[in-house]
Symmetry: C2
Subunit: 224 residues, 2 copies
DNA sequence: CCGCAATACTCACACTGTCCAGATTGCCGA
DNA sequence: TCGGCAATCTGGACAGTGTGAGTATTGCGG
């Protein structure tokens, strides 16, 4: 929120357009999802000519990418807050504590997905230009990728580490564990948003609990 | 493929436009995903004026919905073929057979998702207009919903029934089982397509196997 | 054989992303 | 202090999109 002139700005130059565009993009993505971040609309919100954006982003896709990055950071922050707020009493048993922590991380993920579906979809690259799975190495399009910012999977890794520390998970199985956990939770989120939007919150909570039960059971079962 | 005149048709009336539009929609959705099904382009393929589609579909979204329905049927058929072709030898132990069958169903799901990502995305409603999870009952927009056609989840239900029959799964747990299974497999698919497109086929196969291991372990574990 | 309702077409409008050329300015060196 | 330069923003334009209103063309039932 650097400037907020409703129409024409006082100064010809905006000062910090790039950031303002991203912020406005987050605003429209919050309600409406990724396809709501429209170049002309975003420029209109910021109070700038549509083509001004091209000075900071080569294309609309680049803007969306930046917005998605920020949405991902927002998601990590929201998960942090959720975990901080809703995990006061932990079981004394360290194994049980680790399990409930993993469950709590999953709940945090789903909480954000259901609370901020627009940002969640935006963060997860809802409408990727690159359809298909050509196996291209993505050629590291990283525009000076600041990969040090908090990312949602960090919480998951910490939870799995705790499981390993508690002896519930073999260290060698941590890779399969991260895939299984992420897939279960992400799949649940997508299903709730896209496939089963008519579920009541109670039904959703039940499905979450049951799926998380299956997950931790499968992870901590005596491996073959 | 009712008609294929490159330009203007011989007859003024097309004969069976609605079906032709859906077929053309499937064609463009196959490569390019749901956002590639563009009204004017589809009409162009069929060889008809853009607005002719409005005689059969109230809006582009309705066309997409029809295309998505057909893509879902295609997915079910593809899973059928996959399961028929790639499951010759089953373990003698019925419990083990049921488990491998569930795994095979999951593999069939993922095989279609990775083989036909455009159709998969289209079938799963990649770009829903209704963002958010307002809990609306969807008001049953069913345009004479022919719900008797094969749907992908049918295979999953059959696999779980076999697990129940083999004594590996308590009948009361079947609901949680369907959610957990579906979430795991669907989440894996979305992750491969959207989040981890750079994985090699080998890495993907490994992740699939490991995730399915965790799933069946969690489902067939001694319940708490 | 004729009228009519279904079907497809034409024209038009408000949008969108993006290119190109020009206007405006902060800033840095002389 | 001041002139110019490069960064930044603006305006107009073009191709393409979904969709509405009115018009032409037909197959078919009476």
């Amino acid at each position: 929120m650097v400037e907020k002139r409703p129409r024409t700005r006082a100064t010809y130059h905006h000062g910090d357009l790039r950031a303002a565009l991203i912020t406005a993009g987050i605003g429209v993505a919050r309600e409406g999802g990724p396809q709501a971040v429209v170049l002309r609309e975003v420029a209109r919100i910021v109070g700038v000519a549509p083509n001004s954006a091209y000075g900071h982003f080569a294309t609309l896709t680049a803007l969306k990418k930046a917005v998605a990055d920020r949405a991902l950071g927002d998601m990590a922050a929201a998960m942090d807050a959720y975990l901080e707020a809703a995990a006061p009493d932990e079981p004394a048993d360290p194994a049980e504590a680790a399990k409930t922590y993993l469950r709590e991380v999953g709940r945090a993920y789903l909480h954000f997905a259901l609370t901020e579906p627009g940002l969640f979809r935006t963060a997860m690259g809802g409408d990727p230009t690159g359809i298909g799975v050509p196996g291209v190495p993505e050629e590291a399009t990283g525009t000076d990728h600041d990969d040090d910012r908090p990312k949602p999977e960090f919480h998951l890794l910490r939870a799995l580490d705790r499981l390993v520390g508690a002896g519930c998970l073999h260290p060698a199985d941590t890779n399969r564990a991260v895939m299984a956990s992420w897939a279960a939770v992400h799949g649940l989120a997508i299903m709730f948003l896209d496939l089963l939007p008519y579920l009541t919150p109670e039904e959703r909570d039940a499905a979450v609990s049951e799926t998380l039960d299956v997950l931790v059971a499968g992870l901590t079962c005596p491996r073959p």
